[in-house]
């Protein structure tokens, strides 16, 4: 059962454009929503994360928008650069979970054309 659905599967954006990746979750017990960035040949690395008590979090060119009622959250990359070309994974974890287990989305491969 897919608990976190991510779209699109792939995305091509021109340099300077806005990249938008969307995720939807099913389990209302999820209360931590990180985004991971993975470059070829590397493991994923935490990019930015949000908790459901805020609707938006911004770090530099990266912004997470969170809609608790719709159970959706999205990553916006402003002024996209070729160096942003990577695979992006959204994830979610459950309230009061001591395990820290993350449920990952399917991933979005972003290509930023110069």
């Amino acid at each position: 059962q897919q608990q976190v659905k991510q779209s699109p599967q792939s995305l091509i954006v021109q340099k300077g454009g806005i990249s938008i990746i969307n995720c939807a979750y099913e389990n209302t017990a999820f209360d931590y929503f990180p985004w991971y960035q993975q470059f070829p040949g590397k493991g994923p690395a935490l990019l930015i994360a949000i908790r459901p008590d805020v609707s938006e979090k911004k770090e530099g060119r990266f912004t997470i928008s969170f809609n608790k009622s719709a159970k959706q959250f999205s990553l916006h990359i402003m002024d996209s650069q070729p160096g942003d070309s990577a695979t992006y994974f959204c994830a979610a974890s459950r309230r009061l979970s001591n395990t820290g287990k993350l449920i990952f989305g399917q991933g979005t491969t972003l290509q930023v054309k110069p």
């Binding site: 991510q6 599967q9 209360d31 931590y32 990180p34 991971y36 040949g41 590397k42 493991g43 994923p44 690395a45 935490l46 994360a49 908790r51 994974f89 974890s93 459950r94 309230r95 009061l96 979970s97 001591n98 395990t99 820290g100 287990k101 993350l102 449920i103 990952f104 989305g105 399917q106 991933g107 491969t109």
Partner: protein
């Protein structure tokens, strides 16, 4: 950059062989994880550990086994490799707590012929 290491990075092996994938971290993290990732697909948790002598199965069933004898070391073993085990295996670690950042190693790409 995270101090978590995986060896080997690439492994090509024949069916029936026993293999051990190594994972070590120098951050003193209590929690460690193994994920399986097929190309273009999401990461699936196959094993995790709260600490020394603590291991649990993850959400995705796996024929592999793990051990946690030392805090910094979390090896994964396949007793008899099969082509269906071909995948990328990612190790991660985090501090105690429910929402701590997971730091990932570079992964091991396994090909079983």
């Amino acid at each position: 950059e995270a101090d978590i290491y995986q060896t080997p990075r690439y492994l090509v092996i024949g069916t029936g062989k026993k293999i051990t994938l190594e994972c070590s971290q120098t951050m003193g993290h209590d929690k460690m994880y193994w994920y399986q990732q097929d190309p273009g697909m999401e990461l699936h948790l196959i094993h995790y550990s709260y600490g020394v002598n603590s291991t649990e199965k993850g959400d995705l069933s796996s024929e592999s086994t793990v051990s946690r004898i030392r805090t910094e070391h979390f090896p994964l073993t396949l007793e008899s490799a099969r082509p269906s085990h071909t995948s990328q295996y990612l190790c991660a670690s985090s501090r105690a707590g429910g929402k701590e950042t997971q730091y990932f190693g570079p992964g091991t790409r396994l090909l079983v012929l």
